[in-house]
Symmetry: C2
Subunit: 341 residues, 2 copies
């Protein structure tokens, strides 16, 4: 999620970075609406130190748009299915604008029915998952999301890769505290972090993946070039990854991680799958008490010696960025500027 | 979940075992309704080879009932909260009768709203979690449940135990196939399996737990006597365990795993917490197609070399038990009979 970049560091105000990213995305084929949503998402990841989903991703967005694999102009079609069910056809575009288009309806349903689900299909997700759930917690709601991706993980007990890195993200409000948020790949490591390690020439810890022959390896390049990742936590992480395929693809009507074929679109990087988001309104049963209880949990976790809550590193990086600007390398900044030249 | 028992094996018809367990539970303080639900649950676990939640648990039920810690006569109070939200006060009784009392309303809401949540609090859960979700999949629904338990797991990065074993269970229908069901402790090992290993004098694999001094140990007795379990999969399993505390306790109004004090009830074994169940109707968006897609997933998992699907061992044991009766040891059977003498 957050391996540091190398090179001379510069600091750029958040809005300036977001505007630059939006200009790049519009220049390379996104509509203003889509570019705005993706630029905010990507700039937020960079701001929070989640570098594997920050500006590192921009060349991938650009090459994918150029390949014709994703529709940067797509207009999501929102369907009001039932009292607790919203479905969106992302129309071959990105998942985040689809969420943005359905969000108001989803929240209204969750507040009314107590729980609601958003099923997005025909969508591309190439970003971190926590930016999709954190805003729900900021308005007092509990959110859980899953998205499947592209075949690169060997199910526990199998011989060949099948699942995607298939992350699970969760967010809950917490009284007088940042929301409790986590976003975890169900693979032993996130794909972006393997790419970052490969680029930096670093070895990985043991147990992350296998090479093209199915043998354990600590070489990120061997994982990326014909090898595969393993699930985290053995058969349990593998079962969770399977659940993500069922919820994000089978339930939404999206593709499984192995079902799309981008071979005729060189440069395509964005998995064409589905995403599920479940939102619960805790005030239905527990009123304002939920956030207080959540706060008690945090205090107890600190009392047994936990020094950092899930998501806390992002909040600390965010604080610094709000004061000093978003950190990236001079090389990255020049690379971005070249993309709008 | 399923360490084998030792001793001479006998086979008992399912209904005979269920009736025996029901008689024991009624004899020791359960109402007929409560005894029926728990006996079916426990006999099902034994039938399916899930021995750590089979008849192995009966002495714990009996000693807990004798201690006055749980109300075996409790009548759950069901509240119809909103279009997708049902809440149950289990009234200090077991969680399974609370689920049984609310189940029809929950299913009706899920079929109408597309998704519904059941929040149970003031409840005791001492059983496997898969029997709570599998029946939803049998009627074409997708179900996810979490229950918190009692402090015995050290959060990743902490020094002392706080969380319970906090399992997550999931069930989904699958065309022409048994439902896809898993039930996993978010601890490295289920508590019942540690007890079984201790009883059998077996050592555990590395990474399961720590002793009373917080040092890694493979001795199950050291874990049970002042030590603690670790989460599965490091910080990821730990984050999931935290999520279970938030969903099963904070959201429902139940106790966190560290909040109840049974010290004045010697013999009490059942955690007094909460449980959350989310049920989704896949026909809302995908019609009959979901079960077909689920089936495609199974076929793909088999194609990459998976020889056993999650839950499959239980189905195979069940088939044998339906032919030959439920397996238990002669010693276990005599022990059970002694409890109604």
């Amino acid at each position: 999620m957050s391996a540091p970049s190398t090179g001379t560091a510069v600091r750029v105000p958040f809005t300036e970075l977001q505007n630059l990213l939006q200009a790049i995305l519009q220049r390379h084929g996104c509509s203003e609406t889509v570019a705005q949503v993706l630029a905010h998402n990507c700039a937020s990841a960079q701001r929070d130190g989640a570098h594997s989903h920050g500006v590192f991703r921009i060349p991938g967005y650009v090459s994918t748009l150029a390949s014709g694999w994703v529709d940067g102009q797509a207009r999501p079609k929102v369907s009001d299915v039932a009292a607790g069910y919203v479905s969106v056809d992302a129309a071959g575009g990105f998942a985040q604008p689809a969420l943005a288009a359905a969000r108001e309806l989803l929240v209204a349903k969750a507040r009314n029915a107590g729980i609601a689900v958003l099923a997005i299909h025909n969508s591309h997700h190439f970003a971190a998952l926590w930016p999709d759930v954190e805003p729900f917690a900021e308005e007092g709601l509990v959110a859980l999301s899953v998205v499947n991706s592209m075949t690169c993980v060997v199910p526990h007990g199998a011989r060949k890769p099948l699942f995607g890195t298939n992350p699970i993200a969760f967010a809950a409000p917490c009284a007088e505290h940042d929301p409790i948020v986590f976003d975890m790949a169900t693979s032993a490591m996130a794909h972006g972090d393997v790419q970052i390690a490969a680029r930096a020439g670093q070895q990985l810890p043991e147990g992350m993946g296998v090479d093209a022959n199915g043998q354990p390896t600590t070489d990120p390049k061997a994982i990326l070039e014909g090898g595969a990742l393993l699930p985290f936590g053995g058969h349990k992480g593998s079962a969770l990854s399977m659940m993500v395929e069922l919820l994000a693809a089978a339930l939404t009507g999206g593709h499984f991680s192995w079902e799309f074929d981008w071979s005729s679109h060189p440069g395509a990087k964005t998995p064409w799958t589905g995403q599920l988001i479940i939102v619960i309104d805790p005030s239905k049963a527990e009123g304002e008490r939920f956030a207080q209880r959540s706060r008690e949990l945090v205090e107890q976790m600190q009392a047994v010696g936990l020094t950092r809550m899930p998501g806390e590193r992002r909040y600390r990086e965010r604080e610094v960025a709000e004061e000093e600007g978003v950190a990236l390398t001079e090389q990255e900044l020049q690379g971005l500027k070249a993309l709008v030249a």
